[in-house]
Amino acid sequence: MVSVVYEAPDSIEGAINLLANAEIPANVLAGGTDLIIQTNGSSNESRLFVDVKKIAGMTDATIDSEGLELGPSMSCSEFTAREDISRVFPGLVESAYLIGSTQVQGRASVGGNLCNSSPAADTIPALIVNGAQCIIAGPGGERSVAVEDFVTGVGSNCMEKGELLKQIKVPAPAPNTSDAYLRFIPRSEMDIAVAGAGVSVTLDGTGTCVAARVSICAVAPTPLLVADAAAALVGSTLDDASLQAAADAASAASSPITDRRGTAEYRRHVVGVLVKRAAKIAAERAKGN
């Protein structure tokens, strides 16, 4: 079993110091719903857990006309209860709401979901289609990375030793814009996404799509921003043909694997279905705005 060394700093600087100077492998501990399971394994190593939940700003969220500033370690149950945020980013909130059970929601966080960097992370497509920025703090100062560039491989991201995610910034959407996130699972809850799709669309007065972003997950080593799928929607009224073209583009961009949760062919097909359905929902919401 993993031997844990536990620290709970009260400042970002304190956390950076601990992470940068750790002589054993170190992890940021937010909700712990992914991390704590790992301690039960059979490897007899020591790990430093840096609990960031006592640091000001890490567990709250503010939204105004500029956009959303999200503390990465805010629990999903608190985040998804924020009507002021779900009014503006319904897809992002619904993606956070899908992570695990009610009990997992009580601890898990959007930041944790992002930093765990699983190919199937539900919040990442929704963050991508909303143009989120990751504010990373480290020994060298702060830097901002577009969320579509954050995840670099299966379970890995662009942060270096000593760095941690300090904030997620999501710019306020243009008028008549909305988003949606859908995932496919075999049951009704609890499962890891077999495929996931996030879509954001901006409509003009005639209902024509003038801007779009499409992002898919669980169908490649990292979540993907699929420009071709968005292009298929832009300029259309989201009629069946354009939706199918977007779906096909998403399927074509996928490079899924076969594992205990689904076959490659299945994932490739279903991610297309989800793009169509999510696009329709986003458009309905955008009309309502």
Partner: protein
Amino acid sequence: MAKTHVSTSINGEATEFLCEPGDTLLDVLRNDLQMTGTKEGCGSGDCGACSVTFNGALVCSCLVLGVEAQGAEIGTIEGIGDNDKLHVIQEKFLEHAALQCGICTPGLIVSTKALLEKNPDPTETEARYYLAGNLCRCTGYDKIIRAVMDSAEVMRGGA
């Protein structure tokens, strides 16, 4: 490795314990505090048998470290109802035969209480989705949901 001293509050009572930093809250409750009402079904947050409340939020205690309980308010099955009177939810579970083997029952009662505090008037679907993280293998959930809906009605002041 030296153990960590933790001061917390469990069911409203100030409690102290020593634990390894890697011990989960579930380990601490069951092994160090002999509070075996909270059960381990999977150890990985997939079954809900270890459900407790943590600062008012419903969580799996197998996914919380014992050291994280420092300064927190924990609620377990042992804190629901008291010696001379069961909580309405406990009564309704018995009345509706909402348990067979009973191993999932403490977790379900803790979760149901959390549900009804958050949403006193859930629909059947809302109740089923809120409780989706509590697995039961014996009952097929039918009588559990009936007990939950009946509890909700009584707690709202009806029937």
